[in-house]
Symmetry: D2
Subunit: 284 residues, 4 copies
């Protein structure tokens, strides 16, 4: 099993960045496994993902901030350090449609998706049997207009108690409050069943069917306070024709949603995403 | 060379439609080459495309309306009859970006696109050399806010003089007036460089770039009075990443636009499209 | 719930076929829901799928052979009649990789895949827990070079006892004998993890990785006596790059296999496939 | 206009490579525009593409080999240096099908494809008018079994006289001799109209049609002495169905071939390809 460190970094572009970063790793005897960088020319922004082997690396990761801090400060860099051995703790939220949930659980169980899933939250009991099959605690918290604040309070408490680092809305059909979102900034991933920004909001398949499009889509994105407007992580499309009725769109959509959402969650879990402004850079 | 007749028909769904239509062709000794039908269940609408060999068909096509009329009336059917030997007369309109124009001309010249192209209209001189190469009259009519009505009057006159049956906006960057469109209802095809209904209006690639989408698209649609809102004929998408700058989006978009537009024009020219409401049925 | 009859038919092409077929349905007051035909010009073969509503149809289906027989004989037609209300009995065979099995079971359970699954056969115990979850009998029959004939005899017995009409090899890693295949001619569907005919035989992902292809594929096909050579039902591909290691190919392959196999099984179950020579016609 | 240098490099993987390379560029005040590296774990091979701005770079490129040589030697690296301002000289070879030729010429003329095209070679006169339109010398050298050696001798002479650096077989239907290929090792790109390694050799569309595949493909690859076996640069596929006759496959194939070949030529021209063993790494 690979034991590596991953640095995600963004800073104003300037000469010598790659040299400074690569030199720093090398100075401590790190063997770089992956090195990718990108320059956003419009914003003059340098973005990089560096992954190196911890075998032979002559620094404790707990000392990394102290050692790397001065360099980051000089570069005016925002950065995050992750460790491949650490599996992020992911909470899955689901309502009645459980295809994404079941798909994520299978990928997690088979080892394809490297994360912990300490709990599943739902406003319905329907998916509980799948949670039971995989031995994951399943909490039902009904949500209504009246109790929404209280329901979210209980949800947040459960997330906190379980040390959740990423919240995945696996076809969770409730809109989260701005208050909720603020607890997990850029840490909530949603799957929307359209090719955003087309068909924002409710019933996108119905909208697509009415409009007569020839392709349907699915979009995984980080959740922000504006509905279906957060930074896009991944999108997929499938061809449809007049022979497809609404239920066929829905069925084809399910296959898209599963693949698109699981990719997004996997990239996040493996520290492959840098967010800048409204865009994502995916170091896949 | 195939010499066939093509009937496009739509009518309220009811029992016996296929029998009535197939029987009618058979009664006159027609050999059906393609027979496709579709039922739109929501609208209770039956749509069909029937193509039969004219060799051995014991009826002059000029007599078809008289012979078929009573049946159509009984079925309350709207219908069109086309002949594969007839190549529809298509006018191409273009501004400065000439990739779609050049692509359509090549397909036409190689015989892939079965139509006549009696003229090209443009508000710029740039593409004239390609028209000259293929020996097609190229008319430059400058369009400004001031002279728009007059310019359209001259365009319409040229279209009429040339017996044009289909107008193709091959990246023609002027919005046509409602008055113009009324002269060619469901006879104007436009290529929009986005996956409609996302990124309606001006500079869709810029909009896509800003929004951070992971796929770009192109849409061929019939032109109606509402901008970018007409019935969609065909759509395509291409994957992009953060590595693609705006000019890469534009380049990838060109390849999409060429394929999507040429398919749409080809289907129209071969009488493969039935329009109903805001949707198209493509009998490909 | 739709209660319809489906006729699949192939015969030498000639005039009047559509009239004869549509007229026959209409004569007995059948309301045609879908009517699709295709002419294979090379072989001069007419192929059709006709689906009509049984509500109001004035004939018992048990009488269909007697009534339709003379017409079929006159047309020299091969035909099959199915009923949408009948769910075909499907046996799933699996070895250790269970992603296709789990996917098919979920689709079946959710109602997307319309069939019965009376049993699962495996040469390993690994997937039993999924069978148990969905309440489907799971039979383990170990297969070795020595006991292969005996093992197949027991498998065939179980298939026969359970009235199985379709055998699906959901990543079953044993090659079936010609003898076995003869019991289910054109009734065994396999998923091969390559874009056939590329990478026939063992370890296609390894072969693809070595060859340096830029897309990987999956192919669902009917099983014949020649390995990986049967008629293709459906294929899919996914883009890969140098960044993908072998295990990434395998992971991307899984998503392809699930979608491609489930489509093929669904089409077979809904009587949407006609086989002629080495080709399939899919009336989707 | 960007004026940059591009270093393509491969060497045995080891610690400190990124540091050494980035440091070397930085030491001479180079501003890195793109930096991508890849490690092929199976072969323990490090591969990198580094592009930096020549504005402000304090070294003449003619001195680069002297300055960089000792480092390369220490790393046991194979490397190539290119300059974005240098447009490689590309010869196009074509037979009768001219869609790829016309497509490449248009992309070249519009500036999308950054190269010089000093000449076109053909064994037929058919495509000459397109060469004339774009003002490019067109040489017809008929090739037969008898004169092949002599014909190739004349072709090689023309390529040499014109300082050709890359040979593009844009649907050139003659097999080149091993002798010819040896003059342009890894400098000849061919487009094969199938998804290699499926349908090697003659008439791949016919083979695909006979086999009943559901997708057709196109493959751009470097030419080696074994037919259709060279390293793959890019591949594309398009969906087909029973409704597509052979001529439809050919038409859909043309669109694939144009896009796939032009991408491959563009990547080569922009020094985005590293070849190692039988594989390509594309730094796009």
């Amino acid at each position: 099993m690979k034991n590596s460190a991953i640095l995600l970094l963004q800073c104003p572009d300037q000469k010598g960045l790659n040299a400074a970063l690569a030199e720093f790793i090398y100075k401590h005897d790190g063997n770089i496994l992956h090195y990718e960088q990108h320059v956003d020319k419009e914003e003059g922004l340098f973005l990089a993902r560096i992954e190196w082997d911890l075998a032979g690396f002559r620094m404790e990761l707990k000392d990394f901030p102290r050692e790397f801090g001065p360099i980051a400060e000089r570069l005016r860099a925002k950065w995050d350090l992750a460790q491949s051995a650490h599996k992020p703790r992911v909470a899955l939220l689901v309502s009645k449609y459980d295809h994404c949930l079941v798909d994520l659980l299978y990928r997690w169980h088979s080892g394809e998706l490297r994360c912990e899933i300490p709990l599943i939250l739902s406003n319905h009991t329907d998916a509980k049997r799948h949670a039971d099959f995989y031995g994951i605690p399943y909490h039902v918290i009904a949500v209504s207009k009246e109790n929404k604040a209280e329901a979210e309070r209980r949800q947040l408490e459960l997330l906190r108690e379980n040390g959740v680092e990423l919240v995945v809305l696996a076809r969770y059909m409730q809109v989260l409050s701005a208050e909720f979102i603020r607890h997990y900034p850029n840490r909530i991933i949603n799957i929307h069943h359209s090719f955003l920004p087309a068909f924002i909001g409710a019933k996108p398949h119905h909208q697509a069917f009415e409009r007569g499009v020839k392709l349907i889509g699915a979009t995984a994105h980080y959740v922000t306070e504006v509905l279906d407007d957060g930074p896009i992580i991944e999108q997929g499309v499938a061809r449809i024709s007049h022979r497809d009725e609404l239920e066929d769109l829905v069925a084809k959509g399910r296959d898209l949603e599963k693949v698109v959402l699981s990719k997004a969650v996997g990239w996040h879990a493996e520290s492959r995403i840098i967010l800048h402004g409204k865009k994502t850079v995916i170091f896949d």
